[in-house]
Amino acid sequence: MVFQVLLKIFRKPTYIFIAFVTGFVVFAFAVLLPNIPLIVSIMRHPGIPFSQKFNLPISLLGSITTNFTLLSASYTIAIAILFGINLSIIVYYLRRKIAELKQGGIVTGFLGITSGIIGIGCAACGSVLLTSILALFSASWIITLLPLRGGEFGILGVALLLFTIYTTAQQIQNPAVCEI
């Protein structure tokens, strides 16, 4: 059922485009996140020609193979892909203007996306966002208690995104009817 809905949606190039661009942005954000200060410093540098400003960020994308474990690289890529698909089907869903938009599906999608974002980062030697958020509560040590050192949030993000794609697809599949 979900597969059929996805096929139906991604027959239209607009939705492929939305999914691809969103997925790439999420992937780039996740991979480049630890080096945002460096990228900002390069972008602001008046002495570096414009043509060279993008070489470094592009080469930093390669850190998915060097700065991530197999597990964290897997869920980072999965989150990016699912994030793109999720946004596409939500846009499709909204564009159909279905009156009985159910809050549950969208809220779960939001939870999946949020959890996915939290899970991003190098888990083995200090995750980025999770450490930052936990630091607010003086609770960075909690990461050391988790078996996957924070990777759990990434896996949770993948699971929630899959769930929300499923529930949104279900809602798309259901015909718009006036319930008695």
């Binding site: 060279q52 080469s59 850190s63 193979t65 030697c125 200090g126 980025v128």
Partner: protein, 252 residues
């Protein structure tokens, strides 16, 4: 009426969710561990109270890089000390990414080290909570330096990174074996290892790593000839480091 209200609420969910997600991301970046904080006496997060954390804000700028301790004769440098570009690496011997980055840096030195373009400065940044063995391994590096000089320091580092399985997996009994492998006096090495004389030196480097903005390893600062500093977080690929070196070489 109730249905209309429900529709209105539903229409607001997506923009609201996007705004909240944006706020979370921005907040987390803004509030992530300090780049400019004063060094703490104990780096262990369990000893950090809320006041300390709040004093660490904000981060994300590169101004804290100026807190890097100047490169001196007490530093361990591979390559020409007067090289055009210096890469100061703060490293944890049991971090798997540092192990990978060590190989990458050796590749970099093969290409840029011989003609004096790049020098590699090694500093200690053991993450005690994740890798309790890393600190004593840092001491072992210092003992190798004491007994055999700069060359033995790097030989010891290369060998340790080659044999450690990382993630706190190296047996402590391997440390004297590595010393023997690189040609050091094992008895003197063991005496040095248990002396505690390098504890302060290592702790100072840990504090300096944190003061410059390091919150994970490997944490590197690329210093150009004119003093301009670029932060580099994590085990970045060879191509990315090469790009950064080329940019730093353009700084006059």
């Amino acid at each position: 009426m109730e249905e209309q209200n429900g529709e209105k609420i539903n229409k607001l969910i997506i923009p609201l969710a996007i705004v909240v997600a944006g706020v979370i991301i921005a907040g987390a970046i803004y509030l992530s561990p300090d780049k400019s904080a004063a060094p703490k006496n104990d780096p262990s997060p369990t000893n950090v109270d809320n006041t300390d954390v709040n004093q660490q804000l904000p981060q994300g700028d590169t101004a804290s890089l100026d807190k890097m301790t100047e490169i001196s004769n007490s530093d361990h440098v591979l390559g020409d000390r007067n090289a055009l570009v210096k890469i100061v690496e703060y490293s944890d011997t049991e971090c798997p990414f540092c192990k990978r980055f060590h190989e990458t840096m050796n590749q970099i030195m093969d290409e840029y080290g011989k003609d004096g373009k790049v020098a590699w400065v090694y500093r200690h940044f053991p993450l005690d909570q994740l890798h309790p063995k890393a600190r004593s391994e840092a001491v072992a590096f210092e003992c190798a330096n004491e007994l055999g000089g700069n060359d033995k320091f790097w030989s010891y580092a290369d060998r340790l990174f080659a044999v450690t399985p990382a993630n706190n997996g190296l047996d402590a009994a391997e440390l004297p074996k590595i010393a023997q492998y690189v040609g050091l006096d094992v008895n003197k090495f063991n005496t040095c290892l248990s002396s505690g004389k390098y504890d302060k030196h290592i702790e100072d480097e840990v504090q300096n790593a944190q003061a410059t903005g390091g919150n994970g390893t490997p944490w590197s600062i690329v210093v150009a000839k004119n003093g301009k500093k670029f932060p580099l977080n994590g085990a970045q690929p060879y191509e990315a480091i090469k790009q950064l070196i080329e940019l730093a070489l353009q700084e006059k």
